[in-house]
Every structure is written in C-alpha cells, then in structure tokens.
Amino acid sequence: MDSRISDPPAAATPLRGTAADGLKIVIVGGFGVGKTTMVGSVSEIRPLSTEEVMTRAGVGIDEPGAVPGKTTTTVAFDFGRITLNDRQVLYLFGAPGQQRFWFLWDQLFGGSLGAVVLVDTRRIEESWYAIDRLEHHGMPFVVAVNRFAERGPSLPKVRAALDLDERVPLVECDARLRESSKTVLIELVRYLTALHHRPAGEDER
C-alpha cells in the first residue's frame, strides 16, 4: 500500500508488449462515495484522471437555463488497470453518477463488462439516478455499500430504499481495502456468469 505513494510515473509501469485486448468495468456513484479509492485499491497503477469535453450543441439534452452558443460540458473521470494475463488488461473507471455525465455513457463506457454502483448510506437517493440509467442502458451491475459510519441501515433496508431487484447482488465493502474491492469485482463477474444461466424470458436486460 505504502509503495503506491512513491510510485514512479505510470509510464514506468507499462503494459506487457503482448497486451492486445482491453476490457472495462465502470464504478459509478455520487460525490465522495469512494470511486477513486476503489479504483486505486485494486489498480496496478496509481489512478490517472482525464476527461471528455463536448460542446453543448452536441449534448442533445435540454438543460434549463443553458445559454445557447459555444459552451462546453466537461466530464472528468479516473481509471486504473489490472493486467489479467499476457493478452488481456482490465481497466477500471471511476465515473460520476450525476445527470450531466450520462450523455457520454455510450461513447465512454459502451462495451463495458458491467458496473459497480457505490452507495453511501447517508445519501442513498444519490444512487437512484445511476441505477435507473444503468438499467436503461442494459448494463448489468452490482451494488456495493461503502460504510462511512459504524451504524447505518441494514442491507435489506438499503435494498428497499433503492427499490433494487432481489436478484441484483448487494454487498458491503470498504473501498480502501484491496481485498474488499477485489471481492466486489469478483461478485460482479460471478453475477454476470449467473445471468448467462438465467432461463430465457426471465432475463430483464
């Protein structure tokens, strides 16, 4: 863990020369919910950040009060990576869940394996929009509850507050801990695998 602080620049942690197949998982959630922390706890590089910029004209959503003309919308996100094997490398993206971000979803995160929704139980309602959009985009997801306080609603209460389908995995996590973040990602992969075996007609996607 400590080694991360003195990590050399990411260019000093290059991909293998044989890397040929990039994969994506998105970690989405509200402000300060632990997205960057989760990316960093499992990534082989220090999380990097970048952004996408789009002129409002190309956004295609009406924002009340938006001034017509040459203004731009910027969406910042960060990412890390995990080398899976000689050929495949998994990128983890920490993406904001707010409304103004979603118009870029397809362009940025289309082709993702799935998503993790991070929830802060003190602000559960901030997750509603992200869950709604993921369902809309047909992107399977698991929900991870980041416990900031000792006490908080039980998982069944969180599930009810999120109006979450009982089949969608809901787990506790501490994004600061590598093992915990790793468990959440494994939960997602297992869920995706299980969805393959769901009888036809039951698939909600």
Partner: protein, 117 residues
C-alpha cells in the same frame, strides 16, 4: 484529483489541434503501438504520442491522461496517425455488444485474473 480546470479553457484550443473534427470510433481501451519514431514536421502532440507508445502498447485513455487532452481530441489525433501508418491499434475483442452479456470464456479469464490479484 485533477487540478486542471478545463471548464475555464478555451474550446478553440481543441478545435485548433483537431481541425474541428470528431471521432468516436476508437475505444477508450484500444491499445496503441507506435510504428515509427518521431519525424521532423510532426506536431508536438504526435511526437509525444509516439514516444509514449514506442516500446509497449498504451490505451487511448492513458494517452489522454498523459497528454492532458480530452479523450475526443486524442481520438482524432490517433485516427490521423493511424491513417498515415504511424501507429497501429489493437482493438478490444472481448467487449460485449450493447445489451449483451460478456461471453463465458471472457468472464472466466477475468475471474482468474482477479483471483490472482
């Protein structure tokens, strides 16, 4: 996170770099490899890209972060360099189609990779 304030920057800067074009065909995690070294007459962005991916593949999104340029701008630069044979691109092959699940073999590989962490 980033201390850069793109909100306050002039969008014309990107217009100049890209000639005002758009391109979304390169995936965030497409892997870029330099095919040639920097040459006189190349723009500074092209030179930096070629240096970054000279010895090993670098994902589009990593180039974006290292160059401090938005993803869409980097995509356009890369498309030109691809057309000129200056780079090659390894496109993702395991990404699911929209509304489809990743295939089981891919999921198995990811699971094994995560468990080995």
């Amino acid at each position: 996170m980033s201390a850069r304030r793109h909100e306050q920057e002039d969008p014309d800067r990107y217009f100049t770099i890209t000639g005002g074009r758009r391109d979304a065909s390169l995936d965030l995690v497409a892997l870029v490899v330099a095919e040639i070294g920097p040459l006189p007459g190349m723009t500074s962005e092209q030179v930096r890209i070629l240096r970054l991916c000279r010895d090993h593949p670098v994902a589009v999104v990593e180039l974006s972060a290292h160059l401090a340029l938005p993803v869409s701008v980097v995509r356009i630069l890369l498309r030109d360099m691809l057309a000129d044979g200056r780079i090659s691109v390894r496109h993702p092959v395991s990404a699911p189609e929209p509304e489809q699940l990743p295939d089981l073999e891919t999921l198995k590989q990811v699971l094994v990779g995560l468990q080995n962490l």
